[in-house]
């Protein structure tokens, strides 16, 4: 018999189909009665509060380094005064959301993948299912929604700290006052810059939570699969973020800046 479709294609189609089914289960269970508020708040605390230091330090250093790197070049053109607005716009529009999302993919997506993977291996998810409880509602919906809400908040905090970092670098080199730095930074920033930037972080949050849950929930039996689930969660979530960002930039340039 002649094979019309190569085996790798079949695997890819099956994997894509599984993801669509899983996504359907997530959306169906959001609106079911008995939303798990306590678990949602616990996950929001783990995903949001416990990532504060990592995201905060990253954001601050991002602004700091970007300012230090761009200042010498800008000085050559006599455009040092544009550094605050340039750093602010690049961080808020692009670098902040993407870098923070990638960091969160590494920290949160892998952690969700490993946690659900080990629950699968130790039959805890099966135990929930056979008891008649709804594991998707308890484990998946709460984690994805917590990511959708926490990733934008973490990004906004990182953006603010990146501006602080930018100010620290400018102040160190040029003895710029805080008032002057921030007035320059905000003068070039439009409210319209913030909306698409925050909107795409909502999708990044969904990707981070969804991929982590999907990989963990569908991991194979055996302890090795926990590591595989965590690893592939990071890789897939990072890829999703890059692709979503490319789409978001295209859409933004068509609708927001024209």
């Amino acid at each position: 018999m002649v094979k019309l479709v190569p085996a790798t294609w079949t695997t890819a189609f099956v994997a894509a189909g599984d993801q669509v089914v899983f996504m359907g289960a997530f959306f169906r269970n959001i609106f079911r009665s008995g939303f798990e508020w306590n678990e949602f708040l616990r996950q929001s605390y783990i995903i949001g509060y416990k990532s504060l230091s990592l995201v905060g330090i990253t954001g601050f250093i991002l602004g700091f380094v970007l300012t230090l790197q761009s200042e010498p070049t800008m000085r050559e053109f006599g455009a040092t005064s544009f550094v605050p607005s340039m750093v602010t716009i690049s961080v808020i529009r692009e670098i902040g959301p993407v870098i923070i999302a990638l960091i969160c993919a590494g920290k949160i997506s892998s952690s969700i993948g490993a946690e659900l993977g080990s629950m699968k291996v130790s039959e805890q998810i099966d135990a929930m299912e056979v008891s008649g409880a709804n594991p998707v509602q308890y484990l998946v919906v709460t984690r994805i929604l917590a990511c959708i809400i926490m990733i934008p908040l973490l990004t906004l905090m990182a953006d603010a700290l990146a501006m602080m970092g930018g100010f620290a670098a400018s102040n160190m080199n040029n003895h710029l006052t805080a008032t002057l730095y921030f007035s320059k930074a905000f003068s070039a920033l439009r409210f319209g810059d913030l909306i698409p930037a925050v909107a795409k972080t909502i999708f990044f949050g969904f990707a981070i939570g969804f991929v982590g849950c999907f990989k963990g929930y569908n991991s194979e039996r055996g302890t090795e699969s926990v590591g595989v689930a965590a690893n592939s969660a990071v890789v897939s979530a990072s890829l999703w973020i890059i692709v979503l960002d490319a789409i978001a930039v295209q859409l933004t340039s068509v609708f927001a800046y024209n």
Partner: protein
């Protein structure tokens, strides 16, 4: 000889009335590996049925089909006269409330205390809201398994035997009519194994359950079995009570008693 015995088992066990679980010509494969080649069996009300067999013979697969964790490839599987492959999601949920499943690893939710583990099915499945009633039911079932003082402990603080007892308590808290035990004494020392076997009998008398006990522990089989089915290579090869099988001439069956 084996073939005749299998046919005898199939014809004897599936035609009697009063079966709470009735399986006819059930087949299940994973890829090209056939795990259940053709099994037929029944579990009668109030009966303790032990399924005996070496590891990897398909014993656990059979009971996972009963509870819907796996789907059969062909054959009939009726629980309380309902064909399980025809059940909707809602009907499965209702049916699962009548079936308890004790996993080999006990499958306790390791992020929850013992109390929260027991509270989980009460609040999610029975939708109980009265805190006092919930606490009373938890204490009652913990007292039954002799572990009331472990109520505040985390699963990681419990020994293997204690985990099995708590797992049993979590299953029995929903007062199921059928209990499925997946190797309840595996990994335990002989004294704890006997205690767990005796506890199974005690709980069966208290809650009037019908049970299928998957094991290869002969001490457990001796204490718990009303009837024993011996599984080999995905099908049943012998049936009888403990004494009948012990005095039988079949080589495979006798090897369990050595």
């Amino acid at each position: 000889m084996v073939k005749t015995l299998v046919q005898k088992i199939n014809s004897n066990v599936v035609n009697k009335p009063g079966a709470v679980v009735a399986i006819k010509h059930l087949k299940k494969s994973f890829g090209t590996k056939e795990v259940l080649s053709d099994i037929s069996m029944s579990l009668y009300k109030g009966e303790n049925l032990v399924v005996l067999g070496k590891s990897g013979q398909g014993k656990s697969v059979a009971i996972k089909c009963i509870v819907g964790l796996l789907t059969q490839d062909s054959g009939s599987l009726k629980v309380f006269d309902e064909e399980v492959k025809d059940l909707s999601e809602k009907e499965w949920k209702a049916l699962r409330m009548k079936i308890g499943f004790l996993f080999q690893s006990a499958a306790l939710y390791d992020s929850m205390t013992v109390e929260q583990n027991l509270e989980f099915p009460l609040t999610r499945v029975l939708k109980l809201k009265d805190k006092q009633e919930i606490r009373q039911r938890i204490e009652e079932v913990l007292e039954g398994v002799g572990l009331l003082d472990a109520i505040e402990k985390m699963p990681s603080d419990l020994s293997g035997g204690m985990r099995k007892r708590i797992g049993l308590a979590r299953t029995l808290i929903l007062k199921p009519e059928i209990m499925l035990y997946d190797e309840p004494t595996t990994g335990l020392d002989p004294i704890t194994s006997r205690e767990i076997s005796e506890l199974i009998m005690e709980m069966q008398k208290k809650y009037q359950t019908s049970s299928i006990i998957i094991t290869h522990d002969m001490a457990c089989a001796k204490i718990t079995a009303d009837r024993i089915l011996v599984m080999n290579n995905g099908s049943f090869e012998a049936e009888g009570n403990y004494e009948q099988l012990e005095s039988g001439s079949d080589e495979l069956v006798r090897s369990f008693f050595k």
